[in-house]
Amino acid sequence: MTELRERPTVAATDPATIEKVAIVVSKGSLEGVYPALIMANGARMEGIDADLFFTFFGMDAIRKGRSGRMKVATVGNPGMHMPTLLGALPGFSSIATRMMQRQMEKLDIPPIPEFVELLADSGAGLHACRATVDMFGLTMDDFVPQVSDIISVGEFYELAAGGQIIFT
């Protein structure tokens, strides 16, 4: 008979655990979207509920025909460590994007469309922002099938109640 080691009892001072996260995705660049998706996936893997709220240009991540074409921002991005004018050269963003995608693939991080599917399969909720949808004149038909609904900011807060909100 195998005996499991006795677990340490949880002290009263043990930090509270996070049960739920609601992540706002507002950036429309590859490097702007990945952190949100990675954090949502990490949450689901730890058994934490996750909802994603796509707003403004972050919405490209769930738009048909756009989610697979997101690019790295090579202009106005000091993190690229190169002159802005160089980043503005035609095709430069595509090259930087391909390089980053290759790195991601090496780390077994999926491209954005596959990542969105993975998150939906993991039970994460994918929501589009009502105000952005109205601003861009979109409908549910413009989104990939994994998107569950179009919700207002108020509904997002209701959904996020009791959890942590992360803005990216």
Binding site: T2, E3, L4, R5, V10, M45, P110
Partner: protein
Amino acid sequence: MTTTLQTDAEGFLTDASQWNEQTAAEIAAENGIPRLTDRHWLVVNFMRERYLSTGTAPSIRSLGKESGVPVKELYELFPKARPSSPPRSAAFPSLAAASRRRT
């Protein structure tokens, strides 16, 4: 014969050689999966093989693609931690926890 399992603070085995099918079933039962089905074993064995050959557990992506069990089902087989169930040790295992435990 009684063996004491060597685990870290989170309850993961620190000595992979202590793992066997009975141990796995007991850890699962202790964590809210009373019976490991063939589908559970497919995942467990895949993870273990991967861990022993590469030294790390596979990502959820490669699990879903290569283990033969799609991602949706993975989360059903290894349900998420029960919300607000102190103490933590009584919570159901998360998928990550379940996988790390078995490696």
